[in-house]
């Protein structure tokens, strides 16, 4: 536990909000480098909430930085994964059920508090734009820093696909609602086609990748894999929830199509994690990853009120690491240091990765996968081609929605060439 933050963290969230508001934000380094093996954080039985605390003032869609939204969306995904894993683990490990239930209850409340920071004036499609910006900028940060060359390729591969989703959803937002998605991405991320969603559909066996080795992999590699698996899984679940809320058939189709790609991405990212990790080892890594992510958020957050939340939950997660590490050492009779690094690696960079993304786009647009290998699209498996042809046999929603779409500041309609003329025809005709 860091003494510098202890007193603040013991206050209620409302008090923390007030404290944060009273002083203008100054970016400060966390007082002492985090030590995953020694820091105790806030112990589990002192982690409390009230309903009022869970439902706090959301961030502001108009005035908060886009990366605040990005962090909130990702951390909701991280906590969602904590619950998902915790339940799966409980179903397979009777003796751990009590311990899992205790930690999971707190994490469920953490997820609630974080997810409820999304404002009500941000509709599901606008939040979708936020999800795709997460997938672009967080994946780009991960891809740039990943020490394993093969896995860096895996991340760049996924990046170009999610990058395309932002473009497709932006076209949808513009063409149904007359809204410019850049009001959300705030010019940090390009709104142009990536690897076209229509060609992202692959046979399930071509979505599997090689695993990292649990004993030899760099700790950062594990954190990256756990982070992106969590983010993509939540993205899939979100699209599956909100897709049917749209009336427009193209919107419903587009969500169906992109949710299918997110399922592919979850398949890809979970396949890189060594399945030989024990259940407790995985649990410990999940908790360490939550520390890493809250710390990354803390390092970059510009909204002081939300920064106080990251700070509080960082301490909660350190408490979870301690709790699970003791359980791990007691149960498996080995040192937590075999699994966890003492020091955290560099944080995720919440910033625009425009040049990295563009360069990847230039070099790797035509990449596909055959089995665990990355190949040119010409070398795809017959299984993937057959599957894709089948899915696209009655048309491609992602191509339809963005037919000739060129992002324009203020929205497509600001460009006179895109308006319907009196005969009902569009001026623009542009092939991708």
């Amino acid at each position: 536990m860091h003494p510098a933050t202890l007193s603040k963290l013991q206050n209620s969230a409302t008090s923390s909000e007030a404290a944060a508001r009273s002083a203008p934000f100054e970016k400060v380094e966390y007082p002492v480098a985090i030590n995953l093996l020694r820091d105790t954080g806030i112990v589990l039985d002192q982690q409390h909430f009230t309903w009022r605390e869970l439902v706090q003032t959301p961030y502001c869609k108009l005035t908060d930085d886009a990366f605040t939204r990005v962090r909130v969306i990702l951390m909701n995904g991280i906590e969602s994964e904590a619950l998902r894993f915790g339940h799966a683990c409980a179903r397979m490990n009777g003796p751990l059920q009590g311990a899992l239930a205790q930690v999971r209850r707190v994490e469920q409340h953490q997820q609630t508090l974080v997810n409820w920071l999304n404002p009500a004036d941000q509709n599901p499609l606008e939040t979708t734009i936020g999800f795709e910006q997460v997938a672009i900028e967080v994946t780009a940060s991960v891809a740039e820093k990943e020490p394993d060359a093969y896995l860096a390729q895996v991340y760049r591969f996924g990046l170009l696909e999610d990058f395309d989703h932002l473009y497709r959803y932006s076209a949808l937002m513009d063409r149904i609602f007359g809204k410019d998605a850049n009001t959300l991405v705030q010019s940090y991320s390009d709104i142009v086609p990536g690897r076209p969603t229509a060609v992202e559909h692959r046979h399930p066996l071509d979505d599997l990748r090689r695993i990292y080795h649990r004993r030899r992999a760099d700790p950062l590699t594990k954190l990256h894999a756990y982070t992106l698996m969590a983010g993509e899984h939540q993205t899939h679940d979100y699209y599956m929830t909100i897709g049917p809320m749209f009336a427009d058939p193209v919107a419903r189709q587009l969500y169906a199509e992109i949710a299918s790609i997110e399922e592919q991405h979850v398949t890809q990212y979970e396949s890189i994690i060594d399945p030989n990790e024990t259940w407790l080892e995985k649990w410990l890594l999940h908790e360490a990853n939550e520390v890493y992510n809250y710390w990354s958020c803390l390092e970059s957050e510009t909204n002081p009120r939300i920064r106080a939340i990251w700070e509080r939950f960082l301490e909660y997660e350190l408490g979870h690491v301690r709790f699970v590490a003791e359980l791990f050492e007691e149960t498996e009779r080995r040192d937590a240091a075999e699994v966890l690094p003492a020091r955290l690696p560099e944080p995720i960079r919440y910033e625009s990765h425009r040049e990295f993304v563009r360069e990847t786009l230039r070099r790797e647009l035509r990449l596909s996968a055959a089995g665990t290998k990355f190949v040119d699209r010409d070398e795809e498996s017959t299984m993937t081609r057959a599957y894709r042809d089948q899915m696209n046999a009655e048309g491609s929603p992602s191509e339809t929605v963005a037919a000739g779409y060129v992002w324009h500041p203020g929205g497509e309609l600001s460009d006179p060439a895109t308006r319907l003329d009196r005969s009902g025809r569009k001026g623009r005709r542009r092939a991708a």
Binding site: K179, S414, L420
Partner: protein, 311 residues
């Protein structure tokens, strides 16, 4: 038990659809009372508490029209409220253009109905929505603002009207149902262009005000037409007269609906028509015809939409 009657679909939403089940439903609360005392007012108390305790952060100030939070959007010294409302209209016109594009699709799918719009009627309105948006972009830029920024009022307006595209783009709704949705947008358009006109005039932007007047004339025309099409779809005239009237007669009648007023109607300071009773209470003496600056020659319609008169 609910069941199909002679193979026809029945609406299952009311208690009348399943009287026996409904009887059991009604008996339930008698045996199992509420766990807490009070009324729906309890929700109001929480809302008030949140409103009072919630941090007044930058966005809330922006939504309330606070000038400081708008500084990034416009140059100092400009009318913040005017810029906010220009942004609102622009967002609404862009959204409105997409609504009419959807309506054109709906027309293609369902075709004409007697007295309803033709494709060219809808295209004309759509073209005017495009023109309004282009004019607003130009006006915002001229005043030193950023036409691509989402202003607080724009954000609010798009949330207020969020249900409209859901109706317009739903393949299950027909042309008439969509017209009933779009009349909501047209009513808002008429109201908000009037406000924008007043703000522009107060700020001394006469050229902008004149353009607003032109847009108001368009929007009145849109509203009149949409009302007439809906009336035709219902099998009535805009004033409840029978549908056998000639188109010319319908058009004239539509301009004299109860929601419009004569030149002699009293108005308040903002130019809204008010009732005689309200005029006596507020001491307003102006009529529409005498209100200075409110009329642009050649562009003012016969009657002005406003508060419904009881007089």
């Amino acid at each position: 038990m609910t069941q199909h009657r002679d193979g026809e679909l029945i609406n299952r939403t009311g208690v009348g659809a399943a009287p026996e089940l409904a009887e059991q439903m009604i008996a339930g609360p008698g045996e199992f009372p509420p766990s807490s005392e009070g009324s729906a007012q309890a929700l109001a108390e929480v809302r008030v508490t949140y409103a009072q305790q919630t941090e007044i952060f930058e966005g809330a100030k922006a939504a309330a029209g606070d000038g400081a939070s708008q500084s990034a959007l416009i140059e100092p010294g400009r009318s913040v409220l005017l810029m906010d409302k220009l942004g609102e209209r622009l967002a609404f016109e862009h959204a409105g253009a997409r609504l009419y594009e959807a309506l054109v699709s709906k027309h293609r799918a369902y075709g004409d109905f007697a007295g309803g719009p033709g494709a060219e009627d809808l295209m004309q309105i759509l073209g005017e929505e495009y023109e309004h948006a282009a004019m607003l972009e130009h006006a915002i830029a001229e005043l030193g603002g950023d036409p691509t920024a989402l202003t607080p009022s724009a954000n609010l307006a798009t949330n207020v009207s969020a249900g409209l595209p859901q109706v317009l783009t739903d393949p299950r709704t027909n042309l008439l149902q969509c017209l009933e949705a779009i009349v909501v947008a047209e009513l808002a358009d008429n109201e908000c262009w009037t406000v924008l006109n007043a703000l522009a005039r107060e700020a001394g932007h006469e050229e902008l005000a004149a353009t607003c007047q032109q847009a108001i004339a368009h929007e009145r025309d849109h509203l009149r037409k949409v009302r007439r099409w809906i009336a035709a779809g219902h099998g009535r005239s805009a004033e409840g007269e029978n549908r056998s009237q000639s188109p010319d007669t319908s058009e004239r009648d539509a301009t004299e609906e109860e929601f419009t007023f004569s030149k002699d109607s009293p108005v308040d300071r903002e130019g809204y028509v008010i009732s005689d009773e309200e005029a006596r209470e507020t001491g307003a003496t102006q009529s529409r015809a005498t209100q200075s600056g409110a009329t642009q020659s050649g562009s003012e319609p016969q009657a002005r939409k406003g508060k419904r008169s009881k007089g």
